[in-house]
């Protein structure tokens, strides 16, 4: 079954197609949710909710759409909703943007393990970690992140810059 057929079958509520989608993307969704929530049980709950919600709304997805990205986006949004609901993180609105620095060759990453980078990211304060994760790993733009977190774009840029600086410092001190 190709992706288009799988989406069509999901729209017809075929159990086997739904399970195929689940098996293909469960760990992708779990990784994305876990990066944001930093808690395995919460992340699993989010993955389950995301798939159920996604299958309910599957008719909104085009037959040629990217089903994995679609489910991942649902999982990320649900993870952010959970953080907002628990009022764990506040971003103070900043209208003035910090001086923009071009993304340059900041560090020589030769020999730096991915686990170490993950570790460093996890050491960041939550308000920085979430924005760094969304920008660097999930590859969303500052504008998209602003919309997802319901804060303005300049706040995202400033928080990202501060978070990235702290992350680079941690990486340099390896």
């Amino acid at each position: 079954m190709n992706t288009e057929e799988i989406i069509q079958k999901c729209k017809q509520n075929h159990y086997s197609a739904q399970i195929e989608v689940y098996n293909s993307f469960k760990n992708l969704l779990f990784s994305a949710s876990y990066r944001i929530l930093n808690n395995r049980e919460d992340a699993e709950d989010i993955v389950q909710d995301a798939f159920i919600h996604g299958f309910e709304k599957i008719n909104q997805l085009n037959d040629d759409g990217n089903i994995g990205a679609w489910f991942r986006r649902i999982a990320i949004n649900k993870s952010l909703d959970l953080i907002r609901k628990r009022k764990k993180v506040f971003w103070l609105e900043e209208k003035q943007e910090l001086q923009q620095v071009e993304e340059t060759n900041e560090v020589n990453f030769t020999g730096v393990s991915i686990d170490f980078i993950k570790n460093c990211i996890n050491q960041l304060k939550e308000k920085y970690r979430i924005i760094v994760v969304l920008y660097m790993i999930e590859d969303y733009t500052h504008r998209e992140i602003g919309e997802m977190l319901q804060i303005n774009e300049s706040t995202v840029r400033n928080q990202y810059k501060r978070g990235k600086d702290k992350l680079l410092l941690l990486l340099k001190n390896q």
Partner: protein, 203 residues
């Protein structure tokens, strides 16, 4: 290479977290419960049928109650008219009963029998006899018509009673009929009707 580029280049290594072993079974149960439960559907249909039946029952109850209320209202109106001082109103009551009631009503029939014996208006009495004839199998009505014939003095009412009992082929009317025939005070027209009725009943 900047940090973001490095991460994107090694993105797959960031997506290496795995759900716990028992998560698949938990999810499958949830998926079945949410989307693949025929029982839930049939329960829904059952609920729909029950709610439709309940709605129909309410509608029927309301309609029945309205009909019942309207019937009671009509009956009370007839009873009130039958007891009215005005002969016109009593006559209206008798006609309304005659037109609208297909079934016997004990209270109204009782009221009509009272008119049959005690009303002073000829038209009311004649209309009453006509109304009572709607129920020829009612023994109480038959006996009261016979009693009325024995006591009635108004010739028009007497004729109506004679014709009615003749129509009913009421054998028990022979005695009052004989008395009418033998009574010197009886109007000749009443006598001839009584004689005719006697002959018809004997046949």
């Amino acid at each position: 290479m900047n940090l973001k580029e490095f991460i994107q280049e090694n993105k797959h290594q960031f997506d290496d977290e795995k759900v716990s072993l028992d998560f698949d079974a938990k999810f499958e149960r949830k998926l079945k419960a949410e989307f693949h439960q025929p029982k839930k559907k049939s329960k829904l249909i059952y609920l729909k049928i029950v709610s439709i039946a309940a709605c129909l029952a309410i509608v029927f109850t309301v309609v029945f109650w309205q009909n019942n209320t309207s019937f009671t209202h009509q009956k009370n109106e007839i009873l009130a008219n039958l007891e009215n001082e005005s002969a016109g109103k009593r006559l209206e009551g008798v006609y309304n009963f005659s037109d609208d009631f297909k079934k016997e009503d004990e209270k109204i029939i009782s009221s009509l029998l009272n008119l049959l014996h005690k009303d002073e208006n000829t038209n009311v009495k004649i209309a009453t006899i006509e109304a009572l004839l709607k129920f020829p199998k009612n023994e109480k009505i038959r006996l009261n018509l016979i009693d009325a014939l024995a006591t009635e003095k108004d010739p028009l009412v007497q004729i109506k009673l004679i014709k009615s009992l003749s129509f009913l082929r009421e054998n028990r009317a022979k005695k009052p009929l004989k008395e009418i025939i033998n009574n010197s005070q009886t109007f000749p027209i009443v006598k001839s009707n009584a004689t005719l009725a006697m002959a018809e009943i004997k046949q």
